[in-house]
Symmetry: C2
Subunit: 482 residues, 2 copies
């Protein structure tokens, strides 16, 4: 990838690094502070491994009070802070800068309260996404948003990026499932928003906080909705002779008012790689595959799968396979959820994340193919088709500078295409550093100014997660604007 410009390090902070480490140790305890080079290296990058930078120090506090003390100190001393969950961000959202302290919540992962009657769980945000469902699964409940990295990623990161997942078509993304937050602001103040009831009072600061990419504060606790698991669920595979036919079928199903739990799309290159990895029974003689999951009682499942097949008929599916066992269902999902890893075994890839209006799906798929071909690159398409959230994976060779550069150009073209057809730059992965320079394509100057002003309310010195979300020149002008 090309060189990434980041805000100029503050020389006075770098010069005080030994004192800062001493101070952080006094605030959070020696076992919470990582200052040696070897330890800091673990935190130098995230899921967007193209960029790396070692932070000044890493702190892993264990209480909200410690987080508050650390932020208050950094605010007073003018030290940048990069919040971090598990570091699985695909857009560089957790990428450090060299004069920043990384504040990680991974040691704050306790379940604080489970209330089945009111269907919520209150947790510390360092808990993994799957850990939340794990805490309530014995009673037949689950937490709905399910990013593919759910085994590793933390709720903190999900909140920062408003993460989605394959099953969010029916249950909504992170912001639709959060009832309350405890947030440490940059000046160390702690605010509580919402709680174990349905609607939030006052302005919707919960909604604002979710998706703010670690730039408004550090969320240490959250109350999230838990749902009763359906009686049963069953995925179906439908293969098509063209991506256009599969895309049109998705639009047909949604247009008929049916909302499956999940509706995932894979094109031929993706199918081949995932089938080789997961042995899920994906058909290999098709150009595009839909994984459609429905849930309910056995009767409801049969009835809904029947309706979906009837709707699909005119689009000419060349193969239909309905899962016959829990084991088969697990394999089908393993293939999909391991897709990024499986493709990573055969090629470097650049994962895009944009949304489009559903009806433009067939057209957009065709043009993504043309864009990549125009740059001499292959592309594998895997995405949450039901809600128009695309994840084209551009395959390239990281050791070939020309290939890297073309991948970046193709990616930007694809995201501009999303905006052009009425969609947006980010579905569920966030802006981070990856898409900050495209924000001008999405937003007018006035739009960005309003966002910059809101950011400044929460972080007047612009110390939180610097160099992300906004184009760098806008960030540098932020103080004048605010």
């Amino acid at each position: 990838m090309t060189h990434l410009q980041m805000p100029t390090p503050d020389a006075s902070v770098l010069g005080r690094s030994q004192q800062i480490i001493k101070d952080l140790t006094a605030l959070a305890g020696a076992e919470a502070v990582i200052a040696d080079e070897e330890g800091r290296r673990t935190f130098e990058t995230d899921g967007l491994t193209a960029y790396r930078c070692m932070p000044l120090a890493v702190v892993l506090p264990t209480t909200t009070e410690e987080v508050s003390r650390i932020l208050k100190y950094c605010h007073r001393e003018g030290i940048k802070v990069v919040a971090r969950g598990a570091g699985t961000s695909l857009c560089g959202g957790a990428l450090p800068v060299e004069d920043a302290v990384v504040v990680g919540v991974s040691r704050m992962n306790r379940v604080l309260e489970i209330d089945y009657d009111n269907r919520f769980i209150r947790v510390e945000t360092g808990i993994t996404n799957l850990g939340i469902s794990g805490a309530v699964s014995a009673e037949g409940f689950f937490y709905a948003p399910d990013p593919s990295s759910q085994l590793a990623c933390t709720l903190a990161g999900n909140l920062g990026m408003n993460s989605g997942g394959a099953h969010c078509l029916k249950y909504g993304v992170t912001t639709n499932n959060v009832l309350g937050l405890k947030v440490v602001l940059m000046d160390g103040e702690v605010i509580e928003l919402g709680g174990g009831h349905l609607d939030a009072e006052g302005y919707d600061l919960i909604g604002l906080m979710i998706g703010s990419e670690g730039q408004f504060g550090i969320v240490t606790e959250a109350t999230v909705r838990i749902l009763k698991a359906a009686e049963g669920a069953r995925p179906m595979l439908m293969g098509f002779g063209s991506s256009e036919a599969a895309g049109a079928c998705v639009a047909g199903i949604i247009g008929a008012g049916i909302v499956p739990v999940a509706m995932e799309f894979m094109d031929k290159p993706a199918i081949e790689v995932c089938e080789a990895f997961a042995k899920a029974g994906y058909p290999l003689d098709v150009e595009a595959l839909l994984i459609i999951e429905v849930e309910g009682s056995d009767d409801e499942i049969s009835e809904m799968l029947g309706r979906i097949q009837a709707i699909a008929e005119p689009f000419g599916p060349t193969s239909i396979l309905i899962s016959q066992s829990a084991e088969q269902s697990a394999k089908i999902w393993k293939g999909r959820k391991s897709a990024f890893g499986a493709i990573g075994r055969i090629s470097d890839y650049y994962c895009m994340d944009g949304t489009i209006p559903l009806s433009r799906l067939p057209d957009v798929l065709r043009r993504i193919g043309e864009i990549c071909e125009g740059h001499g690159l292959k592309v594998a398409n895997i995405f949450h088709a039901g809600d128009g959230n695309l994840h084209p994976l551009i395959l390239y060779d990281a050791n070939d500078p020309s290939s890297s550069e073309r991948a970046e150009l193709a990616g930007a073209d694809i995201l501009r295409l999303c905006v052009e057809v009425g969609g947006c730059l980010t579905g569920e992965h966030g802006v981070g550093v990856e898409k900050r320079d495209l924000m001008n394509d999405q937003f007018s100057a006035t739009d960005l100014t309003v966002q910059i002003r809101v950011k400044t309310v929460f972080d007047p010195k612009w110390l939180l997660n610097p160099g992300k979300v906004f184009p760098l020149n806008d960030t540098q002008q932020a103080k004048d604007v605010a």
Copy 2:
């Protein structure tokens, strides 16, 4: 009701009123400006009729450009602005002040775009709530949030208050159904947020804007989600010997993971009044009534009603009636949706709006009865039980100052009770002037300061909808805080 303190009028604005009216006429045309006393009187109050105040002038623009010109002018001249939809607010959200210009969107009510494939409609916000569904009903679609005032209230007001309704249990409230907004900021700038795709990009300013009670800008256009109507729907009436039994049954149904489309609660006083009005077949020999509606195919409806009856069994329902025809269903809903009007025919009432955790329902119902009894008043309880959104109607005599005062005290006690049990001050009606002084019960000083700072980003001179949402002393200190 007691005297309502509002921000001190700006004498210089009042002194310039003739010039201001002349300027507004130049900006929006003579037919858009209402300046005579008779005309302005129509706008002196809203659904909270206890308070009245004639504005300096009323403008009813027809385009976003006109709204922009008006706000830009008022911003420059330091003139307060009160945005207005249909004026159905139950919390005084549209109450004018004497030195303000009311900007009403009622003439901006066009449908701009309908896209069935992508399931959205784009409208001007002066359209009525029911008008949105009306525009798409021929194709079998509808707009989900359904406040009881849906025949009259505008989308603009729904956006300002994040309105809900009886059927929001399944489909979510306003904020869950909005995809995009066009907003005129106080300085006249126009921003566009989101659009016809699923997730919003950047910070969640759409979420922030919804429920901001006309204090961040005037929304002139919105893109909202439309849903395919279910094959059929059927309400069921279940009567109980006590409010506690009905409340426990609601908790039991939700706890079992069933989500009916609507689950409404009425106690004996409410049942009697509504039955007299609507002849809906409500049982009169019960202490509490649940109206539970489910939807789907005939088979699905039968299956779900059966499950609900089985769950209800241990709570001893004394009567069960399942609607047998569309006509009967319409009557059942007419009774519920006319409840406020029907009660208004027999008594003055003060309508509360709070939320509580569902499991506290039986306990809260008992304590609401005790609170009102303690103040020597009767109460009728009608509410969206499924999501814990209470609407106790405190009956009082508006011509008796002591009765009025006791009603207000009882109301405040009930809302404090909601906060005490872990709920919040407002479910779907907003804060307005009615609940502004209770905000300190809900929020810490830090919480309020953050909200005040966000408000100041959008409206640095605090001209938009003055005297609402925040306790008045906090509002006056706002500029120091910001």
